[in-house]
Symmetry: D3
Subunit: 340 residues, 6 copies
């Protein structure tokens, strides 16, 4: 199974432990981004994963690529350029009632300056099973949006399946602009991941069976949202991720996969968060892996949800779990007994 992930990789900088930004005299660093995180998970699962991006020619970008290469991700399609900078983001981890904070500093990145025609999609996608991108990539610039469309067309023509985590970020674009661009991309998509809030915000999709709340909705509502999304864009498989924030340190997490007019729900996990960044990406990777490997719908959503849970019990953006570890959790080993 071979996958191409297309997006930006950034350097993430976080104060040590639970320090706030103004208290930091050191930042722990890692490299990640929504699509590179998916690529890392797919490589961890033993598949052939490649990451396509564009980075400046300096040592920090070298370090970003190393972080992918060490996981076994193929980075040979990453362009190095003199133009633009390495995207950064700063993360302050919250605690208890104090929320986590993110400061993005990604404007003007080399990737966001990418132009249509820059990547030879036919060659890149040759022999690929899945092409994956998130809604962050088209949000970065018109060039990036155009490149997504280019890639989707080539993929579709070549019989490559397309997965997309809609992942709306309000600090990158407006709901209107996001809705318009995603409208043009989603018809190509075979597997979409979304949540109920974004479905409503971008596409006006809302269940008629329930009042509009921020809290955990009923299963019926989730099914409505998925089926309406599926129908609107003709997407065969639509997954929803369902996060309940208890505090900055404790979250409930579950997911649902809607396929062939049926909803399959994972079990709900209460997670004592180590690092919640990258949970959704691990879910996407888990779903692509499971569906691409022929798992049934229930097994697929179970696998992907467990992958997402383990990712959130692990430091840094990239997940580090193997299929064995994920399957053990699916099978119920959630009591944390020491493995000797």
């Amino acid at each position: 199974m071979k996958t191409i992930c297309f997006g930006e990789i950034m350097c993430r900088l976080s104060p040590e432990g639970r320090r706030r930004f103004v208290q930091a005299d050191r930042f722990e660093i890692c490299y990640g981004g929504s699509e590179s995180n998916v690529a890392v998970s797919l490589a961890n699962f033993g598949t052939d994963a490649a990451f396509v991006s564009r980075l400046p020619k300096h040592s920090l970008s070298d370090a970003a690529l190393r972080s992918l290469r060490e996981h076994g991700v193929d980075v040979s399609h990453v362009k190095r350029t003199d133009e633009g900078r390495l995207g950064l983001y700063f993360l302050e981890k919250g605690a208890s009632q104090r929320p986590s904070k993110v400061i993005y500093d990604r404007a003007g990145s080399s990737f966001s300056l990418s132009r249509p025609g820059e990547f030879d999609w036919s060659q890149i996608l040759d022999g690929t099973d899945y092409f994956h991108f998130s809604g962050i990539t088209p949000a970065l610039s018109d060039g990036c949006a155009a490149l997504c469309l280019e890639a989707c067309r080539v993929a579709k023509a070549a019989g490559v399946k397309i997965s997309c985590d809609i992942n709306y970020r309000s600090n990158l674009w407006s709901p209107e602009r996001a809705g318009a661009v995603m409208n043009s991309l989603l018809p190509y998509v075979d597997l979409a991941i979304i949540n109920d809030e974004h479905a409503k915000l971008l596409f006006g999709i809302r269940s008629t069976s329930a009042a509009d709340t921020w809290a955990r909705q009923t299963d019926e509502v989730y099914t409505d949202v998925a089926s309406m999304t599926s129908e609107k864009f003709g997407i065969p498989a639509v997954a929803l991720t369902i996060r309940g924030s208890i505090s900055a340190e404790v979250n409930d997490w579950s997911a649902m996969l809607y396929i062939n007019n049926t909803s399959y729900f994972s079990k709900q996990y209460r997670i004592n968060l180590v690092d919640r960044i990258g949970g959704g990406d691990a879910f996407s990777a888990g779903l692509v892996y499971a569906l691409g490997s022929g798992y049934g719908a229930q097994d697929a959503v179970d696998f992907a949800a467990a992958a997402a849970v383990l990712a959130q019990t692990t430091e840094f953006d990239a997940a580090e779990s193997s299929t064995d570890e994920i399957i053990a959790l699916v099978r119920g080993a959630s009591d944390g007994r020491v493995q000797r």
Copy 2:
């Protein structure tokens, strides 16, 4: 709004993470004290806060002053002297059933050697809205107690409001001595912060409506304690802080403000503690700020309680929260969702 806080600032030394003292080969350090913590919060809230103290002439005291100056606290009234030392305290953070431990090493500090007449209170308090001190200051020495009285008299004469966090510390003085000294100071006070345990211990104040327990009392009991304290000393506003220790890592926290014969209770928070030192100081600062800014009683206690909660989710003695962050928590944003 301008505030003067009078007290001692110490160097705090703590083993890293959850290590015990005997396991430490490094101490994390910060600088703090009850009144300097109040000054820092008040500066964080955007007000004009000054700290009055007395410190030896060496680099560690320079560092203590820097830690105030970086928050914007005016330290121009701090005296530097050749006499005495910098107060220290060592903190071992507990975990689960294991309690935190504090070793004080503050005897003989330059501040405790302060003598009446050393500070020109008329000049210092000129134009000030609030003069704040805690019960720790008069506990340190007769000189410090006399200075508190001096300051209270000048403040009262100048129309400066006085706030006092009674903050009884049994390792500094006996209940009898504390009761006697506080008896002479509290009549000057406009806003007192106390808890039910200390009210009983120092002043024999106890509710007739309830048995004597260490557990959370009824609201009625708290109201009794506050009203009796208010009446005994003629203090217009009396606040109670209500801490329930679940474990070394989890505490319940709420507060009450009694004013004009009415009790206003904050909501109760269950805090996953990052650093519980300084929670009460953030509460004092919050109350001074809120009352000084014209908040109503309920809004004031809500603001102050949320300030105290956030302070306990933040490393080190000094709080780092802005009014915006506190108000967001008051308004219900306690689920810790990432702020991007």
Copy 3:
């Protein structure tokens, strides 16, 4: 009270914080092993504790011995040799649903190469009250098993009491081999510590009163297991430890002591784990100390359980609690209030 503990001490290496092995660029180290942990606790309790072992002649073994000597453990009976290596183990701490992992690297250790006759048990055990070993020691090699038997015989002859924590480790030997060897050793034992799972696996001991589950059994089941173990080997006192894993970070913990046909249960603690390694060893030490100091059965199991709880709220293998701290917890001080 004088105790001899016989076993291996290893260097433990763990990634910092919650990092996984593949994410580590630093290991925190400590030195420990089941019996050396017992010796450290016994020394912490103010008793005369000695550790008997065999170590290579290099600086890392020096460091291991220092870690015992600093607690006041007598290491004068430890042999230094040119043969074999220092045992190691690597610990990855889990989080939430992610289990902790241990990689052992102890094969070929100097201790495992010990040969019968190497230790002068008569001289070593002279004046000793208790001889302690765990089931790990005989599991390491035939030589180590023979040495246990040697020591038990000498101890028995000299009137030294023998305590043994059965502590079965499936990665060291099979249940059959363990059952056979322990069969030959347990008849010498005065105090055995075991859990229900190992009793069944090694000796086929199982209660008739209950179905076979991994969950917390009824008190009746524990009593059955203890009484059957006591009867089978003629062991006067048999203790059971009862761990319930909620997650990698939260465990329930309690214990039972069966003596004179009666079961004494400790209270059950819910522990927010700091480091669960060494909890059972602290329990063994607590029991040896309490019984050796003339505590009654209920007091003994209460003391030992509280010692085990505090050990798990403390970093590293070795416990660091004094009898005062343990007794405070027994008496109910579990709310973690700061001790100033």
Copy 4:
């Protein structure tokens, strides 16, 4: 004595110890920039120093301002804006034959987007003795260059002395552009700091008495360069800094001040570098302080050179030396004997 420094403050990020960028998993951070470093030194010297700049409204900029405020620098003239980003730079410290490396990431900073008219120079410079900027400020953008000119005109009119460290950076602008802009600014300047290499590159100034080398020139050459610079722009005082790089860890450092047709040379120091960033800034600050305090020319260059040396024996951009420490070094205390 009151000084205004105008420029950019950045966040600096460096791998720990001697690690290379690709080896880093943590960055040590500090905040600095040529002019803010000067302001910090001037505040350390006990003078009234203010920093004028423009920063985005987020916590990292708050941290940058704290780092100034803790030294006592007045930051009330710093504008906070929604436009642009915080400038960053990454520093990899070299070792032996391996050079240090800097990656700048300052394009698009809030400061570089400053526009003429944004600062009320009359008000800012009121009562000021010295206005200081470096050649980096006008290099950042046309707006910044225009602001320098604005400030120089107002300063000159108000009788405020102007100091400028020419500090040419080839990665910011070409020698031609730098020469042109500096040509328009230097006629306002009362004290210029330059080195022989930049004098030649920007202004074609070169001594006729010596061949053109990169090595340490003769004193005659330095005098020629200074006198020609002084004459060309009508600058009363011109200082040269003279660095000899032995390796990434050892540098020779000395300086010369040309004033009233006479050259005054400091002694030459061989420095075992702790952090060479900020050495020149400490020199500028030392010179401004010394000349502004009425030191004679020889004393001034001696003081400034010693300040520069101590700055390079101290971690991070900002110097931390007091006038007492600098004067002790001037007087010969360079043997590093412990001060108890």
Copy 5:
């Protein structure tokens, strides 16, 4: 250019900074070994480098492979096995007159248990330009020695050039055994790296032109040793590395390449050591790269020596220098001026 390196990769553990083993409570870790270090350098130089080895199936071995993969080394030929352990070594860095110390703990490693026939050399060496191993590999076990011979035969037959760093380690085998085994391997070798001390010890090769000293010999002596080695085994190119230890922190380093009856000496560098482990490996890699890329003999030894110098100014076993950085040093940029 494609290279195969055959050997063991170990986990290295070092106390932080200059701490001694007995003072360590943390170890910094990296993964390295003579041949894997060569592979990393060759990958850094942009060539196609693969590493052949045998490792146990656990996460620490995964981490070892990651450290190679992140540099771009192909690890697809590394066998994973249930047999044996991961080799370790502990490094205590010296200072001034205090020597560095190494404790090896590599006995019983999975690699040392390798058996002849286990690697399909024909397939592995297909299309390869250079096969590289050091004298450490055959020293580890008879199996490893036999595998070296196997590989040499296949390589020779396939026209693959063979390079060997003789790298005698007295703690692994005796000079006699080493001499005998190397005698059987060296006749296959095209490029040998040795030093004068080992030439004498293993092969009795000593110059007649000089007394036997440990100090730097004359160039004549080095030429004699190289020519005699070349002649004895029929090796076309023989290189000598020449280290002069001034202290634990300062070393002189140079090298010589003897080829076609001529000696080419590099310049001598005085290195302020950051980490001297891996210097010789970087030299081997530099030589293989340079000769394989068609450099002339003088250029080759200059490149390789500069590579070795930079490796010793960089933390950890693996070198991190690019060809550009090495060539800059060859061209004289040794003054460590900051590169902006």
Copy 6:
């Protein structure tokens, strides 16, 4: 060989790396004092060393005792008291021209409050070969001075040899007071360690053969100072330590032992300092050990000087060198070659 060392042990706190006090947010800690450092070295040398002192009853004092116990120092004579505090000192390590700084915070320590009669010297000194103290002990208080005299009298009567490192500290007492007290103690002393500067300052001893300088004196001057000291107090053996400060990081170090009218000089070492604290203490310990073990005068001073050198290449107050390591340095192994 058995030794008793009498003095104070303190907690030392130092900023990490080369940070200055005002830059520290963490302190590295160790425990040491002149006499405890001597005891540690003597224990490292394999002798029976005990430390006599007085400490408060809290965990930090426990940690201080652990640091001695881990080296094998007998601490059974240390008194624990409720009176006074643990002495502290803060160390800022210098660099290049920037001197190290020490802030003492030892006033009011439990040890300084010791009273005559508190220690049962007859019992403590029973069977002892050497009683050691430094001039710091009597400087701390009249009680401590009286205790020194007490101990000297008992020791002399019991035939215990007495060694004293005069170690004058101007921040503890005046030269006059020090001279007077040492005058009463030195007549008991068998081995005194002093430097030329203190001999002059305290006792007016100065060579007639040379001008009074701070630089390295001639051997003649050192001999004069030693012989005059020996004669004045009737001390059989007088040693001088000779430090030449090149910079905060580089010192020259040598020593001389005057015995039987003859001067024996060690070789002079140029040390790249890791931690200069404790160098003199290692020298004292080396001399006591060597003379007590029957070394000749030249061997003794060589051993002691090498011990002092290695102590200064090792972090923290306490030396960590074995006799083997010291003898290797005496024999010339100063080139720091890696020991594998």
